[in-house]
Symmetry: C3
């Protein structure tokens, strides 16, 4: 393993092996496993969990890390192939990535969707190009359409909580003042399907996830014995749910059209998770969210501060699963 780009690149058994390694490192720390190894972290976009958990994870394995943040102490970088660089970017990723790779033993990259052209973002062309520029082990810290570290942490969180493999997992759209990327919903949807769950995507009209995202999840469900469906009917979706996973995302139907998206979004402020959403779920239904979350906009305090909330545990599991990823990338297959 020398790339961690997408959970879909791994079989269900391989993911479970990785989770077993995470669990082993949790139970039996290996404070020297990565002694002398260096992780480079390149952030094109803001971060709290990824920034801190990758550094802490390396340190807990005896390694170290450095952080590069274009626009914050580092030159702005260009990602477009063939660009005439007469604007704000002083450096191209074609240089920046191989140079950073030369300093470290593994490189992580965060680069969000551009948010203008859905087909382009679905293709992940710039991200795959950037990954291809790195001759060291490479980690996706969130790309246009993926966030495999989040998905892996969420899988472990459900295992920790003994959520049944075949449990009902409802991924629900929630309101946000702006159109956010599709990376987390796409990654989490696929993860739940790959885990073998009964997955329901609950979203208002206009917010159906793109066809290729749904198709990829359906393929994973078919392989694992799970299922994927979608609806705009909240009560139907949530009936009997083991997990409600809330996420904000922009409308694929008017992707890149800010005005149309705002108009579509405006009447949907009631898509804020409140306690009554759980009326028809299982009594022990868990509430999940990848964070950051806008309180009392996307999710009410009563839910985040209530007994169903697993959001801090999910975030804590980020470090744990990432330690397994780093261990696997830098120490080989076992």
């Amino acid at each position: 393993m020398n790339r961690f780009l997408d959970l879909a690149d791994f079989s269900r058994d391989e993911v479970m092996d990785l989770l077993a390694l995470a669990r082993r490192l949790e139970a039996h720390p290996e404070p020297q496993a990565l002694a002398g190894r260096i992780l480079g972290l390149l952030f094109m976009n803001p971060s709290l969990r990824t920034l801190s958990s990758f550094q802490a994870g390396m340190m807990r394995l005896g390694g170290s890390a450095f952080v590069v943040t274009p626009g914050q102490g580092t030159w702005n970088v260009e990602t477009r192939t063939g660009a005439v660089m007469d604007g704000g970017a002083a450096e191209h990723v074609r240089e920046a990535i191989p140079v950073l790779a030369s300093y470290c033993d593994a490189l992580g990259l965060r680069a969000f969707a551009e948010g203008k052209d859905l087909a382009a973002d679905l293709a992940e062309t710039p991200f795959r190009l950037m990954a291809g520029l790195c001759d060291k082990p490479f980690i996706n810290l969130e790309s246009a359409m993926n966030h495999p570290c989040q998905a892996l942490a969420d899988w472990k969180t459900m295992d920790d909580l003994a959520v049944p493999r075949t449990g009902r997992f409802v991924l629900s759209w929630v309101y946000h003042p702006r159109a956010l990327p599709l990376a987390v919903p796409a990654a989490v949807l696929h993860m739940a399907a790959q885990r073998g769950m009964e997955v329901v995507v609950l979203r208002p009209d206009g917010y159906a996830l793109p066809g290729p995202v749904m198709a990829k999840a359906r393929a994973a469900a078919a392989a694992s014995g799970g299922s994927v469906s979608e609806t705009a009917d909240r009560a139907a979706a949530l009936a009997g749910a083991h997990v409600l996973y809330a996420k904000e995302w922009g409308s694929p139907a008017c992707y890149g059209d800010v005005d149309a998206e705002s108009a579509l979004r405006r009447p949907l402020a009631d898509w804020q998770v409140r306690e009554p959403w759980f009326a028809g779920t299982r009594a022990d239904c868990h509430f999940m969210h990848c964070l950051p979350v806008r309180r009392n906009v996307a999710v009410a305090d009563e839910v985040l501060d209530g007994p169903r909330s697993r959001v801090v545990r999910e975030a804590a599991n980020r470090m744990v699963v990432q330690m397994a990823v780093l261990h696997r990338l830098l120490r080989g297959s076992r």
Copy 2:
């Protein structure tokens, strides 16, 4: 000890024990004492000394540190309880603090005063709430009304310089273009009183420190055998002083009222420490300041570059005393 929030939480003997540990670590380095331990540092406000000295201190004890700076590569965070987060902040401290705590072995937080409502800032409500969200050892890196690391470093600096326990300590207001927080004057005033000194607060009319701040210092003085007085008479204050500690702060009398504060402050530019200020002090009177300092505005070059200045030593002692705090927090009572 698993909180370092305020020197007032410790008895005079406990503070002296901590200083003895600092001195021991200075004389006998322990480069592996905190091997494998991780410090998280969350900065809501700018820093030079705190940022670098806490990292360096951890490294000198064999540990490591990561830094999170909302608004600089990390999401802006909301601190108000019950906020409807439809503005610039994407994340709430109710999530951010427990998540960061899960990655580290101790967490430090800097969060300055809001500067609008004096009673609210005096109550330190948000800071104590944030400290309460952290289930790991927690360090105050400067709150609305406190800066215990600075106070502890200053205490050690005076010990280093053999300033008598009962020496005359003059905390003087000095000019600054803006109203700065009360954290350092409040912390340093209390420290000098707790040390047992003859403390005089020298400040122009309108800049008397808040009643609760003075009362807290007077209580510390009563316990230690020291005293606390205040005056606007510079010559009277400085007569016989062992230490002149200069600090800029905003008027408590017109707290949060920018226009009134500016009008009050405008005629006070002569409150800039110059060599003649030392005419009536002891010949060996030390000049202290917590830094950063605006040269030739708050303090003249002739003083900062002269033989009385201890400002670099104070800053150097920040690392030393913080190593003792970290050692105590992460290694237990001895």
Copy 3:
């Protein structure tokens, strides 16, 4: 050795000793050589390579590093002696440098030219003053007129590539939307002369390097058996070249005069390195650039992506030679 400010401070043999150490560390890593040692890095200006390669280099030798970036999480700093600090800067380097030095075992500083007064920038007065404020080993991470780490890495790169000591080295001005500092051209010119090469500075009218820069390089060439000449004739300059080293810089003739400089620069956009530039060079002529580079503005994709380009190797060598500098500064003369 306790200062690394300028390659000119070292004899040719001393530089070659340093490169031999770099080569030894490359072949025989010393992962504990600087265990427990701390490097402080103070960046007044943006960085990618310097920021990451110094951190990674320290880590590869078992040490650690902290980064301070005024204006990005740290107070803005004033560098002018005698300044009345009533503007945007809250702290003076007269405090910041000794304070940071007290926390670390070696300090690096990046502080670009002010770009207003050529004589002042040539004098490097503020930088030498700042270096003088540091009582620990000190490293120039790029000053107004120097970048010794870049120059040393480039020397090693040419050694790696077996470029003859007496080979023809063409330093060519290339186009950039703005007037950039003279630090890299001055440092690289001197390096090639000190290495003993046949150095040609190729630049349009108005872009001749300042007299003192040329004189210093000529003195180095005289000592090493090399030569330095300059011309605006591209074909003549490049005939038989072993190396084409491209660099953007502002006109010394209208230094600090933005409008005049823009007018002078405007017609020069064809000074973009393209493959035809190599028509008269040696067949195996290497292309070098210090990075960051604006693609298709300063240098065309066809050159950067072609077989002549050594830009990533140069950047990779930054870490390697800096490890030698750190080793020498922190471990003594051998």
